[in-house]
Subunit: 171 residues, 2 copies
């Protein structure tokens, strides 16, 4: 199971980026997201609304201390950073863990995160996006099946369409 | 070669998301990004600054009409949308094209985009992020090698590090 820890959320500036991180975690089969930084009830609410509408058991919560989350986690703690060891080299080892906590920062990551995690992993050593890095992390760790997770119990479902939108309200 | 077309950019609201789209396109080996929507010289400048600093030949430009871009493109035009046919089913066909134009929207995609493209492709049929969808698109179409592209001629390079940051200024 993969849990995501999003560091340093800022209510205004990261409103959309943190939501994208959460949605990616959910869509690719993650279990939970934990936000640190500024407390943001509206963000938690928006994530839960998506889960209610589209199904599945993904949850979101807030933690005041990333240190406590990292120190108490039982499993592999993986920090995504462009400065780390390429994902291709680390993935075989990461896959052995039963539970994974994957840590994604926002603008500036506190220095101790590099030490508190079991590995610092780069999804390319180029600057891009923590949202994309998280998606590619799921893809490499979970394989292709990460793209076709099933979400039961939602209010809405999509039927894939070649040229439009086909959304059904579930009974 | 993969070119990205970003629809409906809004200068304020999409400042960061459009930059993330561009950075993902570059980091994973794309050739160019074309922005439509509001003209934004600062955004183009920021993308070019990253290319100068970190190397490679990725470019960014602005087009006033997405219709003209789509109609004049020679190759496969692929629209990423949660309503489309799952990527896993479309990817073998897409890979046959020599040149690919991958279209990512922002909030609301004009209806004719669905018709102007050769295929509408879903990277999961769940709501998440156009940034993540684009990254996963590159991963499926290009394979693992999309994660280890080389970028020559930049001012800076990263040497992968297990627990910190190791950046070198190139001579």
């Amino acid at each position: 199971m993969i849990t995501v820890l999003r560091l340093g959320h800022r209510k205004d500036r990261d409103k959309r980026a943190s939501m994208h991180v959460a949605l990616v975690a959910r869509a690719l089969g993650g279990k939970k997201i934990i936000f640190c930084g500024e407390a943001d009830d509206d963000l938690l609410q928006r994530v839960h609304t998506v889960s209610r509408k589209w199904g599945g058991r993904f949850t979101a919560e807030y933690a005041t201390s990333y240190r406590t989350v990292l120190k108490s986690f039982k499993g592999a703690r993986v920090h995504l950073t462009m400065y780390g060891i390429p994902l291709e080299k680390s993935v075989a080892n990461i896959r052995k863990a039963r539970d994974i906590l994957v840590v994604v920062g926002s603008e500036k990551v506190p220095a101790d995160v590099y030490q508190l995690c079991d590995c610092n992993v780069a999804v390319t050593n180029q600057p891009h996006s923590e949202i994309a890095a998280l998606a590619l992390f799921f893809r490499e760790v979970e394989g292709k099946k990460t793209l076709s997770k099933r979400f039961g119990g939602g209010e809405l479902s999509i039927f894939p369409s070649e040229s439009g939108k086909n959304v059904t309200r579930n009974k």
